[in-house]
Each structure stands twice: as structure tokens, then as C-alpha cells.
Symmetry: C2
Subunit: 238 residues, 2 copies
């Protein structure tokens, strides 16, 4: 029976590490939502890097580079992690580099897994359907906030667990997966109200990013599944 597990922080990844698993990296506000949006709009590839220094090296070599820290575009870079930065036709067919506070770190720690894919509410159904078909171990990896647990990522993890169980995915659930499912069910499908007191939402609210929040909480905006191939994310060809 496949395992269906959730790690609530990249710092807990080591306790769930499983080379046989498909890892779904989750950073709802906003890195993985932005990545899904970018592929929906035709970007060719995105190279995730962990540090601003690495990102700067790429920038100095002439690459298009996105760098976000503390919710804002790092000074000197062209793009951040707002989904709205990735809707431009100028990016179609391009390869960009990206570093974010939490999301790229989650990709980094899980590189050795069977497969690493990128999830957000924007591609919820696509992710769930893909996992159903694969029928193998799944680890939903929440990027969290600087190592801490956050609600929006586990809420998405819970939505995936819920959809898989609704579709009779027969799996051995970790306690974290059971809890994420309960959390999602507690929301009664109203993600926006449910998250109104979450810490990250308040943080983004202070930065006037309400429009981004609304965008990231849409479900099934795209069918694209970004997948890690060697050093870069590309759109999965189904």
C-alpha cells in the first residue's frame, strides 16, 4: 500500500525522506503559485536556486532572475514571486532563475526523491489526478515560513489528501496527512475566510498583496504540472 505523508516544514523533510516517493512541493503564498502561473503562460524552464548570491551569479551572466525575500522583490532583481509577474508574453519560451524565502529551499531538500513536482491550489485537480494514476508513495512537502509551520500550505496538502481519499486512493496515511485532511475539511471549502487570521496572510496584507492572495486561492486555474528535471523545472508532458 503506498504511503501518503505530509512534512510540515523543510526542516522535517529528513524524517519523511523516501527515495521512492513523488514529492509535491507546496508554497501557496506565493512561490509555487507563481511557478504554476509561469508555466501556464508558456515559460520554458525555471532554475530554482537557494541563495540570493547564486541568483546574482546568474543575473550577472545575463539571465532573467527572480529573487524574493520577506515577501518583496530583492533590490536589483527583475521579478519576485507574485503570480502577476509571470503573465507577460515576454517570458514565453524563456528560461528564468528563481530564489524565494521558502519554496526554493523545499525543492532543494527533496531533490533526491523519485520525482519532485510543484503544487498549488491553481493546479490542485491536475496534481491529484496525476498522483492517483501513479499510485505510488506521495510526500506533500510544505515550504512553511522560515522553518515554521504555516496554514495555507497544510491546507493545500489537506485538499490533496481529501481528493485522493474521495477517489479511493488506498494509502497508509501519516498523522500529518490525517490532520491536514481534517484542517481542509474544517475550512468547508471557504479558503479565503478560513485563512483570514493566518500569519502569512496578515504578513502579505501589510504589503498590500491582497490581489495576490485572492489569485493564489483559486482552484484549478491550470492543468500544468511543473516537474524538476535535473537542475530545472519544466512543464510535465502528459
Amino acid at each position: 500500500m503506498p504511503k501518503l505523508e505530509v512534512a510540515y516544514s523543510p526542516d522535517l523533510y529528513k524524517f519523511y525522506e523516501n527515495k521512492e516517493a513523488i514529492v509535491v512541493v507546496i508554497d501557496v503564498f506565493r512561490a509555487t503559485s507563481a511557478i504554476c502561473t509561469a508555466f501556464h503562460h508558456g515559460i520554458e524552464a525555471m532554475i530554482p536556486v537557494e541563495s540570493v548570491e547564486e541568483a546574482l551569479d546568474y543575473k550577472n551572466k545575463g539571465h532573467i532572475v527572480a529573487a524574493e525575500r520577506k515577501g518583496e522583490v530583492v533590490e536589483g532583481f527583475q521579478l519576485g514571486n507574485s503570480p502577476f509577474h509571470y503573465m507577460s508574453e515576454k517570458l514565453t519560451g524563456e528560461t528564468t532563475v528563481i530564489t524565494t524565502t521558502n519554496g526554493t529551499r523545499a525543492i532543494e531538500v527533496s531533490r533526491s526523491a523519485h520525482q519532485v513536482i510543484v503544487g498549488s491550489f491553481l493546479n490542485l485537480a491536475a496534481i491529484s489526478n496525476y498522483l492517483l494514476i501513479q499510485n505510488r508513495d506521495v510526500l506533500l512537502l510544505c515550504a512553511g515560513w522560515k522553518g515554521r509551520y504555516n496554514m495555507e500550505d497544510s491546507l493545500f496538502a489537506g485538499a490533496v489528501v481529501h481528493q485522493l481519499l474521495q477517489n479511493n486512493f488506498d494509502a497508509d496515511l501519516s498523522d500529518s496527512a490525517v490532520t491536514a485532511k481534517h484542517l481542509y475539511q474544517s475550512s468547508n471549502g471557504d479558503l479565503n475566510s478560513f485563512l483570514k487570521d493566518s500569519s502569512h496572510r496578515r504578513r502579505l496584507g501589510k504589503l498590500s498583496l491582497e490581489k495576490d492572495i485572492q489569485f493564489c486561492l483559486q482552484t484549478d486555474y491550470t492543468n500544468v504540472i511543473p516537474v524538476l528535471k535535473n537542475d530545472r523545472l519544466v512543464a510535465m508532458s502528459c
Copy 2:
């Protein structure tokens, strides 16, 4: 406004570390339930140590020593972490040493906090009332299972958050505290049914520890609050 936070694993403690906080160490199955039981039955002090080696040193010096790993009493030791081991009159007034798989590690990482107290469903009301009166930062620290998240500890954390909010404790909640509260509310007060599929419960079930599970899920068995004073736990004098 005081902070009310939950760390789901000792490995996440560093992200919540707060020298001003009262830390409540939680290891429902079974270390903190056993410790609460021991003080209820009149033990004088318990010295928590992290490793079996340290425990063995104490044993060789003639101390009464409890050592548990993987749910069982370590070979050569007198006691484990079953609450039923701590009801004997022979322990009244005694000082024992204890090491367990998860609980003693949680005590170890939080030593530098303002105060470290020991919580379990057995002293839920006592803990909640004490925190209400103190009206300062609270960190509920779940021992988890070998670094992983577990349901029973966060369920207890959620019960404390629920009780504090019911009593108008005005606090700044972490996302983990909000989620724990939702989890507790999802249980509708039926802890036993709610935890029936939890991983640790299944683990203990295999060891025929159903009686221990039932005991640990009782609420308000005692008013005792064990508190860390220097190297040892003692009963708080109220």
C-alpha cells in the same frame, strides 16, 4: 499581547524559541502522562536525561531509573513510561531518573525557556488554568515521534488552545496553534475514536498497550503540574 504558539516537533523548537515563554512539554503516549501520574502518586522528583547511556550511569550509582525506547522498557531497567509503572507506593517520596524516546528530548531542547512544565490530558484543566493566570507567552511543545509530527500531542495542544480561548485569553496565535485548535474541535471531544487511526496508537496497539492508551486519554485525573527546577522535575507548589 502574549503569544500562544505550538511547535509540532522538538526539531522545530528553534524556530519558536522564546526565552520569555512558558513551555508546556507534551508527550501524551506516554512520557508526560506517566510523569503526571508519578507526581499525582507522590513521587518527589524525576530527573529527565536524554540518552540511555546517561540513564545507565545513574542506575549504576544506585538510582531508580526508567528507560523507554520504541514503546518498551529498555532491557536492564526497572521502569518504562507506562503510567501504571508509577502508581506504586514504593515510589512515594523517591527521586527517579527517566529517559524516553521523545519526551525527555523535548524537555532537553526547551531548558532555557522562562519555565518548563509538563502537560497531558491527565492535567489539562490544571495546565490551562495556570497559563490563564500567568498571562504570558506560551509555547506548547509536542514531542512527536522521532522528529515527526503526531496527532495525539497536537490534539492536546489544541485542547489547551481551545480552553484558553474559551476563557478569553487574548493572545497572538501562531498558525500551528490555530490548526491544533481546529484539530481538537474536529474530534468533538471523542479523543478515543478520533485517534483510532493515528500511527502511534497503532504502534502501541501492537504492543498490547490499549489499557495505557485509555488511561492517557482521560482528562483531569490530577491537578498536579510537574515543573522543571534546575536538573529535575518536581511538583509545582501552588
